[in-house]
């Protein structure tokens, strides 16, 4: 192979991310599948976990396990300190002003449901509107549909271009006196588009409208600063940012969270309970009913520690290189068409292969050890917009390499072999 390709190159003289060392931090990446080295390109579904996270969870259960916020004994105080320590790490990670603005939830999905339910119940009435975009994940559509139906409100949708981009003009004239909240994805899971969140927040705030940002796909790819974005709510999932499943974070501005009623009732979220009346705890406890996912929060804290040691300039440079290289190589494959071609993209590449359904593509490349997602990616409206039943999606993390992209392209050769043409 002596072909030269018009793809970005990393200049050897400049510092680069030490990918080999980072890969060694992730035990699962050494797995073999169907006799071939695993090429894991489904990071937008869930990322792999560094040893530091796995060990933090084990260590917690081996040395610190006790319920939090309850016991007066040493072990409980120890567990509480570790759990609240994780909250402080999450605060620093998102650059929130105060740790009490950090609510631990199960996932981004639960974070959105919390806001839709609690904010929606008190702020939405008949004729009011919730504004979302055409590229939302089902988790940022369905909770709003449910609360809109309950409150007699209307869900409105910001359209997108054929490249998968939103325009600020389209957003601005949909912000009306009836709009009570905007809920927008930061980075699209199926298209990779990075949305201009800060600008959208400024437009919405100019009309006094709060904004929730679904940050599930942003957190693994870029530093997030909720004060710089000035969003009212921001929510992430631990498992997509190299932490455990079952834990996520909802950030909310303190004044917003204080004005909202509880989402779930139970232990830990009360100040006093009688059969006549219950008074609620202050934030964040008000929104954390029941024993929380203590081990998960501590694992997420370990993931944040891991991420904070990375040089994010180098991560961004590496992922830009992967995006450019993989996009160019995929477009060389006969019949491949990229879906989602925004100017500002994270390293998420959706594509279709002419005449071959995405599930067949997924099965065939899996035989070469290449794990990609196929289907509608919980974004059926996006599939409808692009007129495809499903796409194949390769999503890269900082531990992926150009060789991973090469393996995908080689495996796609088998698709032609099987289907002919």
């Amino acid at each position: 192979m002596t072909t030269t390709r018009a793809v970005p190159t990393t200049r050897a003289a400049q510092p680069a991310l030490d990918v080999a060392t980072r890969r060694a931090d992730f035990p699962l990446l050494a797995t073999r599948v169907h006799g071939k080295p695993l090429v894991y390109l489904d990071n937008a579904a869930t990322s792999q976990k560094p040893r530091a996270v796995i060990e933090a969870i084990t260590r917690y259960y081996e040395t610190s396990n006790a319920n939090v916020h309850r016991g007066v004994y040493w072990l409980s105080e120890h567990a509480t300190a570790a759990y609240e320590g994780a909250r402080e790490k999450a605060r620093a990670f998102l650059n929130a002003r105060e740790a009490r603005e950090i609510i631990f939830v199960r996932s981004t999905t639960e974070g959105i449901n919390l806001v839709a339910s609690s904010f929606g119940r008190t702020n939405l009435g008949a004729g009011d509107e919730v504004l979302i975009s055409a590229m939302e994940h089902h988790s940022n559509i369905v909770p709003w549909q449910l609360i809109c139906e309950e409150r007699g409100a209307t869900l409105r949708v910001i359209p997108m271009s054929s490249a998968g981009e939103l325009s600020l003009e389209e957003i601005e004239h949909r912000l009306t006196e009836r709009t009570k909240i905007v809920a927008l994805v930061h980075v699209s899971n199926s298209l990779g588009t990075i949305n201009p969140v800060r600008e959208v927040v400024a437009l919405a705030h100019a009309k006094g409208i709060p904004v929730l940002v679904d940050g599930a796909q942003a957190a693994p790819h870029m530093p997030v600063d909720v004060q710089a974005l000035d969003c009212d709510f921001y929510t992430v999932s631990g498992h997509k940012m190299f932490g455990p499943t079952g834990i996520g974070v909802l950030y909310g501005k303190a004044a917003r969270l204080e004005a909202m009623p509880p989402y779930q009732g139970g232990g830990d979220m009360i100040r006093s309970v009688t059969f006549a009346k219950t008074t609620f705890a202050d934030i964040p406890a008000k929104f954390e009913a029941g024993t929380p996912h203590i081990a998960g929060a501590i694992g997420l804290g370990a993931a944040i520690d891991y991420l904070s040691r990375l040089d994010w300039e180098l991560v961004a440079q590496h992922e830009r290189d992967l995006l450019g290289y993989a996009s160019a190589r995929l477009q060389e494959v006969p019949g491949v068409r990229l879906v989602g071609t925004a100017a500002h993209k994270a390293s998420v590449i959706s594509f279709v292969v002419a005449g071959v359904h995405a599930h067949d593509v997924g099965t065939i490349v899996d035989q070469q050890g290449v794990a990609i997602r196929t289907g509608h990616h919980c974004t059926q409206p996006v599939m409808d917009f692009f007129g495809v039943p499903a796409t194949a999606r390769a999503s890269f993390a900082f531990y992926n390499t150009r060789e991973d992209a090469d393996a995908l392209v080689t495996a796609l050769g088998s698709v032609r072999q099987v289907f002919g043409g």
Partner: protein, 150 residues
């Protein structure tokens, strides 16, 4: 490639490319819909049933090669058969792809349907092969709800 060629046998590739009985029956007296919401495979089945015999059958749909070829080969296999014979084929096919207790010792007894014998090595794809058959069963009992095999 060997596992792949067992899954994607030429018969399947060919029926996916040129599905048989890909038509809406104007005089169908039974129809049913199959839809796997998670993967998006869709089948609408049209049957003209007379005296418990499948006099004519057609389908329309979209989805992966396995689901579409399965619908095509199924319509060929059950056309002209009685409900009872179609049910027996359903069971034999289901057990062949899902590895059930009645899996035919010799899949070739299923004729061209034996092309799907490789599916059992791919558990994630069994539901693709089964969708049209479950849809047929729904059509024959005149079920109102769409069928899913997920």
């Amino acid at each position: 490639m060997s596992d792949l060629t067992e899954l994607y046998q030429q018969t399947i590739i060919e029926h996916n490319r040129s599905p048989r009985n890909f038509k809406k029956l104007a005089d169908a007296n039974r129809t049913a819909e199959g839809y796997n919401a998670i993967c998006g495979d869709k089948i609408t089945l049209y049957v003209r049933l007379e005296d418990d015999v499948i006099k004519d059958i057609g389908f329309q749909g979209s989805g992966c090669a396995i689901s579409q070829a399965s619908a095509s080969l199924m319509t060929n296999a059950v056309a002209g058969r009685s409900k009872r014979e179609a049910e027996a084929l359903f069971r034999a096919f289901h057990d062949m792809v899902a590895g059930g207790p009645d899996a035919p010792a010799d899949p070739m007894s299923l004729g061209k349907l034996a092309a799907f014998a490789g599916v059992r090595q791919f558990p994630a794809r069994v539901k693709c092969a089964n969708l049209s058959w479950h849809t047929l069963r729904a059509a024959l009992v005149a079920a109102a709800e769409p069928v899913s095999t997920e």
